[in-house]
């Protein structure tokens, strides 16, 4: 089984890379819409199936889901990001194919980092919390939330790129193939709303988990934990983005910059805090 896991860890970045290459090829070349997306959806399904196989085999081998370390999470987020993208956008709208290249590049990077850094040592005994259903739900909702926020960030990044291209009269591939600013804003908001809902669920489940399982930290320690703090901050930024924007007429570039700052906090939460901060969010 370990050979299969290793094989899939090599195959997955290649598969995501191939998918990104396919989207890049169609993005930079002037092909008509029909040709552009002829194989995109089936190709994405193949990659998703391959990744689903990897998750199953990895879980069976390591006796826990891909949620114990940040590197495992990277892989799960890559999978979720592609799945959300395929089901929310790619299948529904052929016009928005311009975003596919950027989504798959992010998936590729996430999976590559995960494949290189993930610890393949078989863990026979894992912390009991990893077997807890609420814990798994807590992490799953987090992953969905972060994947949606990442998708929103991709839309936001594209918005800023297109905005710049238009202002500077750069009528190249970005101008031609990326969807309109209006549409990117709509998609970004939708992804943000999706992410916010899942993040809310994750926070509630996290609180429930804290009440249920003794983690060896006091309530005050729990609240000042860097990861908890950052997550609450991220949640607040996206909450403000969604709820207050109508009242203060927050639209267009300003809105995008606001939600991108929320995403920057997310990245800090997922990386810097994980590496340098002391957190009870460590399970191996």
């Amino acid at each position: 089984m370990s050979i299969l896991v290793t094989g899939l860890q090599i195959a997955l970045p290649l598969a995501y890379g191939g998918l990104a290459f396919y989207f890049a090829r169609t993005f930079f070349r002037s092909l008509n819409q029909a040709e552009r997306l002829k194989h995109a959806v089936p190709a994405a399904y193949v990659v998703l199936a391959l990744h689903a196989l990897y998750i199953s085999v990895y879980t069976a081998q390591n006796h826990h889901d891909l949620v114990a370390t940040v590197y495992e999470l990277f892989s799960l987020i890559a999978f979720t990001l592609l799945a959300v993208y395929v089901f929310a956008e790619l299948r529904a709208s052929r016009e928005t194919s311009g975003t596919g290249f950027f989504v798959t590049i992010v998936c590729f990077v996430l999976q590559l980092v995960s494949s290189i850094t993930v610890n393949n040592e078989i863990v026979q005994e894992t912390k009991s919390i990893l077997q807890d259903p609420i814990f798994n739900l807590h992490v799953t909702t987090s992953v969905f939330g972060y994947a949606a926020l990442m998708l929103a960030a991709i839309y936001g990044g594209l918005y800023l790129l297109l905005y710049r291209a238009i202002r500077h009269n750069q009528f190249g591939a970005i101008f031609e193939h990326v969807p309109s600013l209006d549409r990117l804003e709509r998609y970004g908001l939708r992804a943000t709303a999706f992410g916010f809902i899942f993040l809310t669920l994750s926070i509630v489940l996290g609180a429930l988990l804290y009440a249920r399982i003794p983690l060896g930290v006091s309530a005050s320690q729990f609240l000042v934990d860097p990861k908890v703090l950052m997550t609450l901050l991220v949640w607040l930024v996206f909450g403000v983005t969604l709820l207050v924007r109508k009242v203060v007429h927050l639209e267009g570039r300003r809105l995008v910059l606001f939600w991108m700052s929320g995403f920057a906090l997310t990245i800090i939460s997922m990386t810097v805090i994980n590496w340098i901060g002391t957190s009870f969010h460590s399970f191996l």
Binding site: S30, L162, N169, S180, D182, H249, E251, G252
Partner: protein
């Protein structure tokens, strides 16, 4: 046979606009030309602002050449004798496969002044329809029209020839849609009711503009323009205002197109600054200045959340699209070559069937005639034997020519030549449908 197919064309390639407009044909004139050709040829006449062309396939026994067709056009225009000589020089003549290729190139849009012209497909279709009504289409032109439509459709679906704006007014709309692709919830302000403004307003109206205001010094002229551009089943709100009322509308407008002939700026930086401050949204404002001299103060482009583009910026988009369209021409040419081969093959099949049938009928007629003439010399039994023997003999004699005619694994032109030779050798009548 396609060798007899001829075409004459006067187009933007050779003729200046004053010549083209002089020779542009009205529906009545097209009808009149087709009427004069009805007994001599299958014919189709295409006349647009950029070209006037006649394609003709003479019926059996008739001969028509390019000069004859040019004369048809010039004579219907009742030109002076000296003008006739001048105009004649602007014509191009095509024959056989070149004439077929010409109509394929025209319908695909690669022969147009604006490469990938989207209107030409419908114009060629209308031309064939007019020929059908004038009863100047036959077996050949029916086949040709099908092939031509196929070329046009393939050029659209298999290449990017039609992608991107190719005119300034269309580029203005495409540019605005890169910011707001759904115009149903957007307020569009068009300043100026001249030709350029009207074209842009028309494009916006056709793309479901939610609200459109036309501002003009002369409100009555704006109203007339509105009546012309408003789609029949438009769901949006349309209104007109005087230029004096502009300041009230500016804060509400998401897209502003200006195309007046005013010598000074119609929109200045201070007025726009005030409008942005009064605006109840932080969504971008798209400003498109397609006037020369410019209507919108270029200093406005430095204001936050404003996209201001002028005619030169839009020209960049158009030029880029034109270059890309040019790069698609070889792909379209390849489609044309493919379809030409397919058309000629279908044409040879079209000729082979009737030729074999006519050949057999001719042989059978001779056989029957000879049998009848000698009927009395045989008793019933002997006659039956002779009848059977001559039938077999005829079938065996015709077997090899039939097989040869049906052979398709060679050049289409060779097959057509063989059909031609057989028809001539055996003096077969060419009864066109």
């Amino acid at each position: 046979m396609p060798e007899n197919f001829v075409a004459v064309s006067i187009s933007h390639h050779r003729a200046p606009v004053e010549v083209r407009e002089r020779l542009q044909l009205s529906e009545e004139e097209i009808g009149a030309i087709l009427k004069t050709l009805r007994n001599d040829a299958e014919a189709v006449v295409l006349s647009t602002c950029n070209r006037t062309e006649i394609y003709a396939m003479p019926v059996e026994g008739q001969a028509i050449d390019g000069a004859h067709l040019i004369h048809k056009i010039l004579s219907i225009k009742e030109l002076q004798k000296e003008s006739v000589q001048t105009y004649r020089a602007y014509f191009e003549m095509f024959s056989s496969a070149d004439a077929i290729k010409q109509i394929f190139r025209v319908i695909a849009g690669i022969d147009s002044q604006i490469i990938g012209d989207q209107q030409i497909f419908a114009q060629v279709k209308d031309a064939f329809r007019a020929s059908e009504q004038a009863q100047t289409t036959g077996r050949f032109l029916n086949k040709l029209s099908q092939a031509a439509f196929r070329v046009g459709k393939r050029a659209i679906t298999e290449t990017t020839l039609l992608e991107g704006a190719s005119t300034i007014s269309y580029a203005a709309v495409e540019f605005a849609r890169k910011i707001y692709d759904d115009l149903r919830s957007r307020h569009i302000l068009v300043i100026g009711a001249g030709e350029t403004g009207e074209l842009a307003a028309k494009h916006f109206a056709e793309r479901n503009a939610g609200r459109m205001t036309i501002a003009n010094r002369n409100v009555e002229k704006a109203r007339e323009m509105l009546a012309r551009i408003r789609p029949a089943h438009a769901s949006g709100t349309f209104d007109v205002i005087s230029l004096d009322a502009l300041d009230a509308v500016l804060p509400k407008a998401d897209i502003i197109v200006s195309a007046t002939s005013a010598p000074d700026y119609v929109l200045t930086e201070p007025s726009m600054k005030m409008a942005l401050e009064a605006r109840q949204s932080s969504s971008p404002v798209v400003m498109i200045d397609i006037a020369v001299p410019r209507d919108i103060d270029p200093a406005i482009s430095s204001l936050s959340n404003v996209f201001l583009k002028n005619i030169d910026d839009l020209r960049t988009i158009v030029d880029r699209n034109t270059d890309r369209r040019r790069q698609e021409i070889p792909k379209v040419e390849a489609i044309i070559e493919e379809e030409l081969a397919r058309f000629l093959a279908s044409l040879s099949q079209l000729e082979v069937g009737p030729t074999i049938k006519e050949l057999r009928e001719k042989f059978e007629a001779i056989r029957a005639e000879e049998l009848e003439r000698n009927h009395e010399k045989f008793d019933e039994r002997s006659f039956a034997v002779v009848d059977e023997m001559t039938r077999r003999m005829m079938n065996r004699l015709l077997h090899q020519p039939t097989v040869s005619l049906k052979e398709t694994n060679e050049e289409t032109s060779e097959q057509l030549t063989r059909v031609e030779i057989v028809r001539k050798l055996f003096a077969l009548d060419n009864k066109k449908e």
